[in-house]
């Protein structure tokens, strides 16, 4: 072995030659082959991998859509319909891309929920979690920009309402909005820059995903018990165990995806977006896509524009400080009986907000949205810090392998944690 070359373990001469000079095969083997992974994952741990697959699908379909799309206010709507009618399998590309956005949010919401429930945001994974929140923000921005491109009524009016939010900023708000628009209303310059940014941001996202995974491979994965692996008896090599398990989730994900694309491709969209954009006709209800509804409800829950904007932004920004708001050393909610109930209620408040966001801003929805908003924030700002100090957690198991291997009945464990995790979910 010549000096400076990596000492490769691979036998195949070609792979060995490459690996000695650029040890990508060794890296892949280490990070995705033998990578020690807690042995007790449930199916919630599928969703990170699914999100990566989804991002790849979005980029792949998006590149081909971009070849046929025209970013101009006169042609955008028709070019999208031309994709649907005259481009070979164009309807498939577009429906996969538009429903892919919904699938992406479903997957990422479950992924975030997993992190909240099992305490994956806690030390030492704070930065990993914060990078995840950055990805979530990039995703939201990309989805919003992409929804504008077909230049239907909801595209246009959604863009008008959302960009107008920036005008709430004192002093410079108006200037910022004009700058975002590239003019004095949402118009062709707006569409052009949104298209450019919609193509750019997924690649930025990909970069942050790389950092997210890099950080994950330093700290290692959390697990349903929230305790650290104590040795090799607590872990399994990623391949074949978790490649096999992730494959099961992947097929289920594809089935749900296929049902949407092939049998209900417009179920999650809004019919108004099949009406070409018309700056002179405002739709009776301007509603964002379903995945933005909880945040839209928070925005509208505040009777003051700036307040609403700040609270809406705060509802996501608060996740950046979540690792420090939750002071309990116990990660998994399985061992935090009170916090667990509070978190489940927080999930309820999230769905209530989603429902209210789709309703017109009338009573009783305004009051319900306000109460749900209050609880959404109270969970992070009041309940978690309070419980961190006061809650008595259940005793933690001694190790991951102990409950998994023996399936202990009573003892210190709640029944759920003792069952074979593989048989559930």
């Amino acid at each position: 072995m010549a000096a400076g070359l990596h000492d490769s373990d691979f036998k195949n001469p070609v792979i060995r030659w490459v690996d000695a000079r650029l040890p990508i095969f060794t890296m892949m083997q280490k990070e995705y082959g033998t990578f020690p992974t807690p042995r007790n994952f449930n199916y919630f741990w599928n969703f990170g991998g699914l999100a990566l697959v989804n991002l790849t699908i979005m980029i792949a379909t998006g590149i081909f859509l971009a070849m046929n799309y025209t970013a101009h206010v006169t042609f955008a709507f028709d070019s999208v319909e031309r994709i649907m009618r005259d481009v070979n399998y164009g309807w498939l590309l577009r429906y996969v891309h538009s429903n892919g956005a919904s699938m992406f949010f479903i997957v990422v919401y479950i992924h975030i929920w997993r992190a909240l429930y099992y305490g994956s945001y806690k030390a030492p994974r704070e930065l990993l979690f914060m990078l995840g929140v950055v990805i979530f923000l990039l995703m939201m921005a990309t989805a919003f920009l992409g929804y504008v491109l077909p230049w239907g009524q909801m595209s246009f009016w959604g863009a008008t309402v959302i960009t107008n939010l920036f005008s709430a900023i004192p002093l410079v708000g108006e200037s910022i909005v004009t700058w975002l628009w590239g003019g004095f209303s949402v118009d062709n310059p707006t569409l052009n820059r949104f298209y450019s940014l919609h193509y750019l941001l997924p690649f930025v996202t990909f970069g942050v995903v790389f950092l997210h995974i890099a950080a994950l491979h330093i700290t290692g994965s959390n697990n349903p018990l929230g305790i650290d692996p104590k040795g090799s008896q607590d872990t399994l090599p990623f391949h074949p165990y978790y490649t096999a398990k992730d494959s099961v989730g992947l097929v289920v994900y594809f089935i749900v995806f296929a049902l949407l694309v092939f049998f209900a491709p417009n179920l999650l969209g809004h019919p108004d977006n099949y009406i070409p954009a018309n700056p002179l006709v405002t739709p009776p209800h301007i509603v964002p896509e379903w995945y933005f509804l909880p945040f839209y409800a928070i925005l509208r829950a505040v009777p003051d524009k700036l307040g609403g904007v700040l609270l809406m932004g705060g509802s996501i920004m608060i996740l950046f400080v979540l690792p420090w708001l939750d002071t309990s050393p116990v990660r998994s909610m399985r061992f935090r009986p009170v916090a667990r109930i509070c978190l489940l209620l927080w999930l309820v408040s999230f769905f209530v907000l989603m429902y209210c966001g789709a309703k017109p801003p009338e009573e009783p929805w305004v009051t319900i949205a306000r109460l749900a908003t209050l609880y959404y924030f109270a969970y992070f700002l009041v309940i978690l810090p309070f419980l961190g100090a006061k809650e008595r957690a259940l005793p933690l198991p001694a190790s991951i392998s102990m409950p998994v291997l023996r399936g202990v009945g009573g003892g210190p464990l709640p029944a759920g944690a003792a069952a074979k995790p593989m048989e559930k979910a």
């Binding site: 429906y95 694309v261 108004d272």
Partner: protein, 258 residues
Amino acid sequence: MVLRSRLRAALFAGGLLLAGGGPALAAGEALPPPDTKFSFDGLFGTFDRASAQRGFQVYKEVCSSCHSMRLVYYRNLRELGLSDAEVRAIAATVQVNDGPNDDGEMFERPGRPSDRFRSPFTNEKAARAANQGALPPDLSVITKAREHGADYIYALLTGYSDPPEDFHMMEGLNYNKYFAGRQIAMAAPLAGEGQVEFKDGTTATVEQMAKDVTTFLAWAAEPELETRKQMGVRIVLFLTILGGLVYAVKRKIWSDVH
């Protein structure tokens, strides 16, 4: 600037305050359209070709005097089972503005299969001028562009009646219980027998014409529907079998862990 500020004020007044129109609208709120059975419903749905062809005839003879379908080409009609010659003949019945020719002049020529459906009006202003200010919407994707899609179109076409006695009608509008506000500018377009003569002998009742034209419009909006559903059935079937195999593999791999 003033317009923009006012627009924004209106948006936020509408968005943040209570919608004042709520109770006022209640009297004229549209009924949800009843569920109508169509040939293209369900997992295995296909377009009833005979019905869609009759629907095209209804569109051509009734709707097309006001409503454009600017995204559809005459060539697309082949997908409904019309022959090349029939499509050519249909296209040739319209005059299309083309040019400029070598002398720099625009000219009229008979339509070709590669032309889009000719629009009844040259622009939006002309359409409004001819319809007391109302704009007949383009029908290319109409079943995708309305809540409840085909059910709504069928309900609207068959939903005309006299207004209830206490209902206040605006000048020039027509009562239709399925239309938002229950007052629609379009007069009842389907009159009943004798309006259209179907070649296959089907009686052209209002319901029959409404169903046929709805089938035609649904096809125009989603010409890929049949391919899409057939591909979907195969893919979901394939994925279900694959899922079973993958799960079996996973069980086998994990059998030494438990």
